[in-house]
């Protein structure tokens, strides 16, 4: 509509001056309405943005954009307060505003580990409109501009040397002070800020790149390291490290998540060993076992509830022999020190009657009629990193608050736990036969036995019902099928085919 000029006016018969006036009038009207149209487009966009915001965003971010919407008191972390113009995920320099594209990306992709969902099901127009709308909440957008993005070219391919360089840089740049020597968020500055001074800053557990707010790919990590996270102790390193150094660091940080492999299954396979089960965690039998990763959630059914648990993932491996079954459980916990005598703990839960099948006890530690058996390990009174300790109990639970000392058969269990650099490693070994007691073998092999897990972090005020737990999974003690069984099955299948074929031929003849 813009760009109309006098030349496109057709020339009527008659007075040229009147013609000129007419063309001027028409073109100026059209240009005005074009300008008004642009203004109208903006108004439409802001109306649309406002509409989208009021339909989708206001409940968390609030009518005034200050992060105090009606749902905000239920959220941890809290929703962003837009009024101060401080945004974490940006491609621009430290303490700068984000670009529109940065905001659009967060709206589209969401923020893992928070209540901010991805809004990819909204149309792109809607998303862009709401980005324009939310910029109004802070006066910074009116007075400042975001500035140039930080340079991010030249991403190198990963290699062993690059990872080694990244590891050295992780140490020399002091990343470990907040993130911990092995990246589990247990660094001394994090522990001090959080426990001594009660500041709300916890450095990310770098072994969980699925929880990185800005994304867990190498490019995302590079961006975060370069631009920092405004409003948090994570500063920007673009003036402290070269581009090449930051790429090496990004590759290294991404590699820290390698252990957290999704296993996706519901069956914890326990492998049979000949001879004794190794008590040494570094034995080959243990290191060869694949980790089964299990996600835990806070218990929110019975009071007191746990809305923001520390432990959200366990890794489990299992071995067994005729006499014993063993579980090696590992999880990330930034501190091992008990707080107000609340200890770190983990528990494995079985159906007390060891029946397999689909009728399982209530997953929240059973009921009066169908109890569960708990093998619980608790840390000791004080924490000594890298030294094994703790106590193990076998308990019968008739519900979340009804525990009794285990009189059940499977009460002979022992174990210990070691804390190292932000990770607990607990080995629990229980007897499958109780000496001197007649009866069937517990943990029958070849069957699917219900099993569930729960964990507590004492320094997060977790105790009793305030627990992080999983639903029922299955434990399967693997049985080796003999080779000839496969041949038999193959032979049976072939003969069945032959029989079917000859029967079919006979039928056709008829």
């Amino acid at each position: 509509m813009a760009g109309l000029d006098k030349k496109s006016c057709k020339s009527p018969r008659g007075n040229p001056q009147a013609l000129l006036n007419l063309c001027l009038l028409v073109s100026s009207t059209l240009m005005l309405s074009a300008a008004e149209g642009r203004g109208q487009v903006e108004r439409e966009e802001s109306d649309r943005g406002r509409r989208v915001y009021m339909e989708k965003c206001v409940f968390c971010h609030g009518e005034d954009g200050n992060g105090a919407g009606p749902a905000s008191s239920f959220l941890d972390p809290s929703p962003r307060d837009f009024t101060n113009g401080i945004f974490k995920i940006r491609s621009t320099h430290w303490m700068s505003l984000p670009t529109d594209e940065d905001l659009f990306d967060v709206v589209t992709k969401g923020m893992p580990g928070t209540g901010m969902p991805d809004w990819a099901d909204l149309s792109e127009t809607d998303r862009r409109a709401v980005v324009s709308y939310l910029k109004r909440f802070s006066s910074r957008f009116a007075t400042e501009s975001p500035g140039d993005p930080v340079a991010s070219d030249g991403k190198p391919a990963g290699s062993a040397e690059l990872l080694q360089r990244g590891r050295e840089l992780f140490h020399r740049s002091k990343c470990f002070l907040c993130h911990g020597k092995e990246g589990r968020g247990d660094g001394p500055i994090t522990v001090t800020l959080w426990q001594e001074w009660k500041r709300p800053f916890r450095a990310r557990d770098l072994t969980r790149r699925d929880q990185f707010r800005g994304g867990g790919e190498v490019e995302d990590i590079f961006r975060t390291v370069s631009t920092g996270l405004n409003g948090t102790p994570m500063g920007a390193y673009d003036s402290l490290l070269t581009v090449e150094e930051r790429w090496a660091l990004a590759h290294y940080v991404r590699s820290l998540s390698e252990k957290q492999i999704e296993s996706g299954g519901v069956v914890l396979r326990s492998k049979k060993v000949n001879g004794d089960i190794p008590r040494d965690r570094s034995a080959a039998l243990w290191s060869e076992r694949p980790h089964m990763m299990l996600d835990l959630g806070g218990q929110v059914i019975r009071r007191p509830r746990l809305w923001n648990p520390t432990v959200s993932r366990l890794s489990i491996r299992s071995l067994y022999n005729e006499k014993e079954v063993a579980f090696l459980i590992e999880w990330n916990d930034p501190t091992c020190r008990p707080e107000h005598d609340l200890r770190d703990a983990v528990a494995i839960q079985f159906a007390a009657d060891f029946s397999g099948g689909s009728e399982r006890p209530y997953f929240l530690q059973g009921t009066r009629d169908r109890p569960v058996l708990l093998w619980q390990w608790r840390s000791g009174q004080s924490c000594l990193p890298d030294s094994a300790g703790g106590t193990v109990d076998a308990l019968l639970a008739f519900g979340i608050d009804r525990l009794a000392p285990g009189e059940a058969k499977a009460t002979l269990v022992e174990g210990d736990g070691v804390w190292h650099s932000g990770e607990w490693s607990v080995l629990l070994i229980g007897k499958r036969v109780t000496p001197g007691v007649e009866g069937p073998v517990l943990f029958p092999a070849g069957e699917l036995l219900p099993v569930a897990f729960s964990a507590w972090d004492g320094s997060n005020n977790e105790y009793g019902p305030r627990v992080s737990l999983s639903s029922w999974y299955y434990l399967g003690l693997e049985v080796q099928r003999p080779r000839w069984a496969l041949l038999l099955i193959g032979a049976a299948f072939l003969s069945a085919l032959f029989l079917a074929d000859s029967a079919f031929v006979r039928l056709r003849r008829k």
């Binding site: 101060n84 002091k174 470990f176 002070l177 907040c178 001394p188 001090t192 800020l193 409003g231």
Partner: protein, 487 residues
């Protein structure tokens, strides 16, 4: 209410069954009774709304501006002291050891171990020296005081004895042990306030210690330590006491003479490396350091207080130990309703010369307040720290009513109060000494306390004897019998 058939009030409410006989419906309601019933229901439904309105009014007391502007000393943006002039404060060899491992110096140190290499530590010290600037003008000392302990002769000792004794007495009056402990002892306030003074001789410089004790806020504006109104002699006495008393030695190691800066500390490259180490180690999260950019956004600016009492509280740091209206520490009694609780004259003399009320550990320090400052305290407390509930209690107190006093004494003996409280020469030490409690507490507050001790004082272990009002009145007369009755 209208029954199954849906009758409205006033209608004929008789239905007939198949045989034509009238049937009774449950609940006979005549029109008048229906309206009455409806009226009652309406009032019942409205009552919560009315109560809520009244409740809302009572439940949100508006804090007077004079109380609202009091600042909680524990709410600090940065909890560590500023490091810009730290090289004027501490000896360099101590600083190197501290940076290598804070916990090896003080078990309770709240600074984390930063895993610094030796060369990084030296670089950091070089930077801190560079920003430290000129040392302030030196303090004048008697020459004998500047000799090291090993070199002092008996005559020298004699000449500094009176100064040392003065310091020892000042230390005791000022109750420094409440926060600082001494040697291996922990301080008591919130268990974490107050630096461990063990081996302080190896740590701080004499001149700095003098300036600190005289006015702590000059070095560390947000310190929790009060600014006592010490005389110059008292300050010098304390310095001598701290630097010479063997009670402040954590171990018997010889103090190293490592305080001279190394020659390469002046190297600007070393200082630049040190700056980089400080930036990477995020020291600025807890410490203000010149030349290091902030990481966290600055907090909203806070106006300095305007009221006289608020300004005095900033100096004396009352809220380090006491709580007023939800702000402050919980070591000492809450002062939120102290105006209704305590008598003015008592407050006036107590803040200037505190005596023992409760067991020894909790005695208030002597801050050497002037009479004017004490008057400011009394005025503020009397006007703003009041309780409507306590003020509203009426007790016709008559210090000469012998009957009530006798009855009160009987109650006191019967209930065994003497097992926890002292009256006269005998009694227990769990609760305060009640010999002259009438001079300290108002009769109204004594009633308030006796009605429910835990409401009056959350930390109280006193049982609630559920005394009747008459018994309470008599008991108060007994306890306050020696008071002059003046407010």
């Amino acid at each position: 209410m209208y029954g199954r058939s849906g009758f409205s009030p006033g209608e004929e409410r008789v239905t007939r069954n198949a045989s034509g006989n009238p049937m009774r419906h449950g609940g006979d309601f005549s029109p008048r009774r229906t309206r009455l019933f409806a009226g009652v229901v309406a009032v019942v439904l409205l009552m919560p709304a009315l109560l809520l309105l009244g409740w809302a009014e009572a439940a949100t007391p508006v804090l007077h501006a004079a109380v609202a502007e009091l600042r909680d000393p524990y709410e600090r943006h940065k909890n560590g002291p500023p490091l810009t002039h730290v090289t004027h404060k501490v000896r360099l060899d101590w600083l190197a050891k501290w940076l290598a491992s804070p916990r090896s110096h003080d078990r309770r140190a709240r600074m984390p171990d930063l895993d610094l290499e030796d060369d990084e530590i030296q670089a950091v010290i070089a930077y801190l020296l560079a920003i430290g600037g000129e040392t302030p003008p030196p303090v004048e000392w008697e020459p004998v005081l500047l000799k090291s302990s090993d070199d002092l002769t008996d005559r020298d000792w004699g000449s500094i004895d009176s100064l040392y004794d003065n310091g020892s007495r000042t230390w005791r009056r000022s109750r420094c042990t409440i926060c600082h402990g001494g040697q291996e002892n922990e301080g008591f306030v919130n268990l974490r306030v107050g630096v461990n003074l063990g081996n302080v001789q190896a740590k701080v410089r004499r001149d700095w210690l003098y300036r600190w004790i005289r006015n702590p806020k000059e070095y560390f504006p947000n310190t929790l330590m009060p600014t006592y109104r010490f005389s110059d002699t008292e300050v010098r006495g304390l310095v001598e006491y701290l630097l010479r008393d063997p009670g402040f030695l954590l171990d018997f190691d010889v103090v190293e003479q490592g305080d001279t800066p190394r020659s390469d500390f002046a190297d600007p490259e070393l200082a630049a490396t040190g700056k980089r180490v400080i930036v990477l180690s995020r020291c600025v999260l807890c410490h203000d350091i010149e030349g290091i950019d902030e990481i966290l956004p600055p907090p909203p600016p806070v106006q300095p207080p305007t009221g006289e009492f608020a300004r005095l509280a900033e100096e004396i740091k009352c809220l380090t130990c006491h709580e007023i209206a939800g702000k402050g520490g919980n070591y000492a009694p809450r002062l939120t309703i102290a105006g209704s609780k305590l008598k003015k004259n008592w407050i006036l003399s107590f803040v200037q010369a505190p005596d023992v009320i409760r067991p020894l550990l909790q005695q208030m320090p002597r801050f050497n307040l002037s009479a004017d400052e004490a008057a400011v305290v009394v005025a503020f407390v009397g006007e703003h720290l009041r309780s409507e509930v306590v003020d509203g209690i009426s007790i016709q107190f008559d210090p000469l009513d012998a009957v009530r006093i006798r009855e009160g004494e009987a109650i006191f003996r019967q209930r065994g109060c003497i097992s926890c409280h002292m009256v006269g020469a005998t009694g227990g030490g769990v609760g305060p000494n009640l010999s002259r409690v009438g001079d300290r507490l108002t009769p109204e507050h004594m009633v308030y306390h006796l009605r429910d001790p835990q409401t009056a004082n959350a930390f109280s272990v006193e049982p609630n004897y559920e005394l009747s009002d008459t018994e309470i009145r008599n008991l108060v007369h007994f306890l306050a019998r020696k008071s002059t009755g003046k407010p």
